[in-house]
């Protein structure tokens, strides 16, 4: 209350404004409480064990010292850094080029290519790993391209990770590139500024925030991912695998927690870098802005089109291999056509029920997750709430991406299955799966919403406020309509990820609500690779369908809600 008044004091003292700010601060506190339950407390329940011995006695940093003295474990830190940096260095430029083509050229069929770029997140990360084995493994039809190197190792991990992380990059950078002030470019043109200069002085600075976010997201996704490394990593040790070795292989929760803590470090570091950049970032879209419209340029458009086609071909190729894999009778010895792999009942007693469970779970996660993440981003970006709360909200939102699913999932067990916990009744229910999925995938929707909101001028709020319009009216009539495409993006993103999530939920699903993604892992594990591919493809088809619905909705809603972007057209 005292803090709320503190902020209010700086505003003109009008009763309405005061109420509004108290309301928003209140909303912020509620959201913080929710995030504390979803993210902080479960994590604390596991990570606090990094400071304990096996009998729960506090031993300070002893586990960390033991860790540092184990050469095998230290090697995995270097390996993880190497892989993640390589993945970031490859993914971000590619994603930038792709997003640039989609937003700044007049190449044809943009919607289709945008859809293709997102394909990798629509299927479990296991899928590229399986496909790459079929392509570049010792029996692979393209193994010659690796010149004698093995796909089972860093090369395979990096390739599969680039594939897996690419959509994040396109999504984030695309959002940043998609909203920019056309007037700057017009001015530049008037002064006949050379193209490269325009690029360096207008385009890049404008998307700096998006680029940093993309680097951060790619790096952390790559460093915490477990599925890819497990299937294709061979004996190459990375941190995510080490966690698995410690917790699953040796039931050493303490050492697993130590690695979990280490994995949080890059996220913290990036958080501070981001704060720094953030301070210097200005709103790209002022109320007077005119949305940039690319103009046709034959050569440039053709070049961009070519680049996009090559990348899209690679993405489709990897997926196509998985499709074929699901139809082969026995790769590579009997390549006759067979539908056996699609007879899930033969491989998994859960059969179709796990598929429907997944759909229910993913829908609920998308609904509640979107409200939470967009609401949170709105509060962080557009509300006069106390700085402390704002920072806290933002840092909580940034944590999940740095947390391996297995750490979050085990944290949920320790926290929610504690007999002392009044929320214990949630354990073993569908609700806890929904909560865990929202928590696990919180960061990217938050960043996406934030990036979009950052580019909407604060002036909208200021003007509304001085006209005496309460914030919820501005929110409903301006901010949400402007952001609707992003809101749909976010909902779709959470849905498709919840469909594929594995590591986080594997410890907390109950027999009654088993998920399709868990069935995929189980089938891969027992050697039913074809069936695993088939189920993964079912998840992919579902996610594609949802994506298509999203596109259709955007197409229907866009023209009306986005009119403000094209003043000439109205």
């Amino acid at each position: 209350m005292a803090m709320a008044q503190d902020v209010v004091a700086r505003e003109p003292a009008r009763p309405v404004v005061r109420t509004e700010n108290v309301l928003r601060t209140g909303a912020c506190v509620v959201l913080l409480a929710i995030l504390a339950v979803l993210i902080v407390m479960p994590l604390y329940a596991l990570l606090s064990q990094s400071l304990e011995d096996a009998d729960k006695h506090f031993i300070g940093l002893g586990n960390f010292v033991r860790y540092a003295n184990n050469p095998g474990l230290v090697q995995s830190v270097y390996n993880s850094l190497f892989v993640s940096i390589a993945v970031t260095a490859i993914t971000v430029p590619l994603a930038f080029g792709y997003a640039y083509a989609l937003t700044r050229s007049c190449m044809p069929a943009k919607t289709i290519f945008k859809g293709i770029a997102l394909l990798p997140i629509l299927a479990p990360s296991l899928l590229p790993a399986i496909s790459l084995t079929y392509m570049f493994g010792n029996q692979g039809f393209m193994r010659g391209l690796l010149a004698g190197h093995s796909i089972h190792g860093p090369i395979g991990i990096i390739m599969a990770q680039v594939f897996h992380c690419f959509p994040f990059g396109v999504l984030i950078i695309g959002t940043a590139l998609g909203i920019s002030d056309g007037r700057l470019y017009e001015v530049a043109q008037t002064f006949s500024t050379p193209k490269w200069r325009v690029f360096w002085t207008i385009t890049l600075p404008a998307v700096r925030y998006g680029l940093i976010s993309a680097c951060f997201v790619t790096f952390t996704t790559a460093i915490v991912d477990f599925g890819v490394a497990k299937v294709i990593g061979g004996s190459y040790n990375v941190l995510a695998i080490e966690i698995f070795k410690q917790i699953i292989g040796q039931q050493n929760f303490q050492m697993g927690a130590v690695i979990g803590v280490l994995l949080l470090l890059p996220a913290l570091l990036t958080f501070f870098i981001e704060r720094y950049v953030n301070k210097r970032q200005m709103s790209q879209l002022t109320a007077r802005a005119v949305l940039y419209q690319p103009k046709p340029n034959r050569l440039f458009d053709l070049a961009m089109f070519g680049f996009v086609v090559v990348i899209a071909f690679c993405i489709l190729g990897v997926n196509a291999v998985a499709v074929f894999a699901s139809f082969f009778k026995l790769w590579p010895y009997d390549l006759s056509f067979s539908l056996d792999s699609y007879d899930f009942a033969a491989f998994d007693p859960g059969g179709w029920s796990s598929y429907w469970n997944s759909i229910v779970m993913a829908s609920a996660a998308a609904l509640f997750g979107t409200v939470l993440t967009f609401g949170g981003a709105y509060l962080v970006e557009k509300s006069p709430i106390p700085t402390l709360l704002r920072s806290l909200l933002h840092i909580l939102a940034m944590i999940p991406i740095a947390v391996p699913g297995i750490v979050l999932g085990l944290g949920y067990v320790f926290f929610f299955n504690d007999p002392e916990n009044p929320l214990g009744f949630l354990y073993y229910t569908m609700t806890i799966l929904v909560m865990c999925s929202i928590a696990h995938y919180y960061t990217i929707p938050h960043l996406t919403a934030l990036t979009a909101l950052k580019q909407v001028d604060k002036e909208f709020e200021a003007v509304s406020q001085s006209l005496g319009v309460p914030f919820w009216v501005t929110l409903r009539r301006v901010t949400i309509p402007i952001s609707l495409p992003v809101i749909l993006d976010v909902a779709t993103y959470i849905f498709v990820n919840a469909m594929t999530t594995v590591a986080a939920v594997i410890f907390i699903y109950s027999p009654q609500n088993k998920l399709a993604s868990i069935a995929v892992i189980a089938m891969e594990d027992t050697g039913d690779t074809g069936a695993a591919c088939a189920m993964a493809m079912m998840i992919l088809y579902t996610s594609v369908a949802v994506k298509l619905v999203q596109i259709a909705l955007s197409k229907l809603l866009f023209p009306k809600l986005q009119l403000w972007r094209h003043p000439d057209a109205s």
Binding site: S150, H152, G234, Y236, K329, L330, V413, T526, G527
Partner: protein, 348 residues
């Protein structure tokens, strides 16, 4: 024997008839639902459940199935508020580990003395009781072996031959119970220093240490790597599906593990769980298991699935399970130190 079986199945029919008659009366007391934690292969869960419910229709089962390590970790993580009513089943080493953490309630299933000796815990009141045994076997891809000129290994020591360089995969003992089975099996058979010498040479030939015991055989089945050290759970399945592999048990015997059942502390329906444990040691239960596993607890049954290894009992090495449990941390730490830091799989 036949007479006894007939009597028993007659009994089962009688029980079934009684249950059918008693149906309406029983509807008043709600049926018990047991939460069973298991690392069994998912294919066997439905038939096991059906066989059990023929005898005890009043008891329902919901399965939580995952890899042994995951189930083990989950049981530990849930210790403050146990959720499992019965463990059906986990490898013995996992159950003994859980027992040492104080999470298992010893229980002697009715007539468990009839099981083969290896399937019985030697403690006064058994902590675990064995259902079926699996062997560590070599999955050997014959098509690739011919192409790559690889001789057929007949003894474990053969695998140290440099001709196999980059052709062998095996589960990592740091991640897989089966992987550890190989290590302690060789230690107990060869003696520690000879075993480490062998492992040093073997390491030169190993292309990948995998996280799951099934993966090496899958690699062998697709020819990704010609030789996979795996188990006779995965091997027969892949071979039946048409993979060009032979399942080899070297003449100097092999490591094994037993899938066992136990009563977890904090079971919410201990009485029903005990009924299920009692059922599991019957001949009828073993007959059901035998449809999926070559070696089962009840003596005299040898009707394993296609491609399973006949008379597997005789091929299982004689070693001390307790020794393997007591030395686990030490051996894995040493293995970790020697081979874990390997950064990149060797090219073929």
């Amino acid at each position: 024997m036949i007479d006894k079986t007939a009597k028993r199945s007659g009994g089962a029919v009688l029980a079934l008839a009684l249950v059918l008659l008693a149906g309406p009366a029983m509807a008043q007391s709600p049926p018990v639902t047991l939460v069973a934690y298991t690392s069994l292969q998912k294919e066997v869960l439905a038939p096991y459940e059906a066989a059990f419910r023929k005898v005890h229709p009043e008891i329902q089962i919901t399965w939580v199935r995952d890899a042994g390590g995951v189930i083990h970790a989950r049981l530990l993580a849930e210790r403050a508020n146990p959720r499992a009513d019965i463990i059906f089943s986990l490898p013995v080493t996992d159950i003994v580990g859980l027992y040492k953490e104080g999470l298992i309630e010893p229980y002697a299933p009715k007539d468990f003395e009839k099981l083969k000796p290896r399937f019985r815990d030697s403690r006064a009141v058994p902590v675990w009781t064995g259902l079926e045994m699996y062997l560590n076997v070599i999955c050997f891809n014959t098509v690739e072996a011919q192409k790559r000129n690889l001789p057929r290994p007949t003894r474990w020591a053969d695998l140290a031959n440099p001709v196999y360089r980059g052709q062998i995969t095996m589960p990592s003992p740091a991640m897989s119970n089966t992987g550890y089975g190989y290590i302690h099996g060789w230690m107990q058979a060869m003696g520690e220093s000879a075993a480490w010498d062998f492992l040093d040479k073997l390491d030169q030939n190993v292309a990948v240490y995998t996280s799951s015991s099934a993966t090496p055989c899958k690699y062998a089945s697709t020819g990704e790597y010609a030789i996979g050290l795996s188990t006779d759970l995965t091997g027969p399945m892949m071979k039946t599906r048409g993979a060009p592999i032979d399942l080899i048990v070297p003449t100097d015997k092999t490591a094994w593990d037993i899938e066992a059942i136990a009563l977890p502390k904090g079971s919410r329906h201990p009485e029903a769980a005990k009924l299920m444990l009692d059922w599991a040691v019957t001949r009828e239960a073993s007959q059901t298991f035998n449809k999926y596993y070559g070696i089962v607890g009840f003596p005299g049954l040898n009707n394993g699935p296609p491609n399973s290894i006949p008379d597997g009992d005789a091929l299982a090495a004689d070693y001390s399970v307790e020794w393997s449990i007591d030395n686990r941390d030490r051996l894995i730490a040493e293995w970790f130190k020697r081979y874990n830091a390997k950064s990149e799989p060797k090219a073929n």
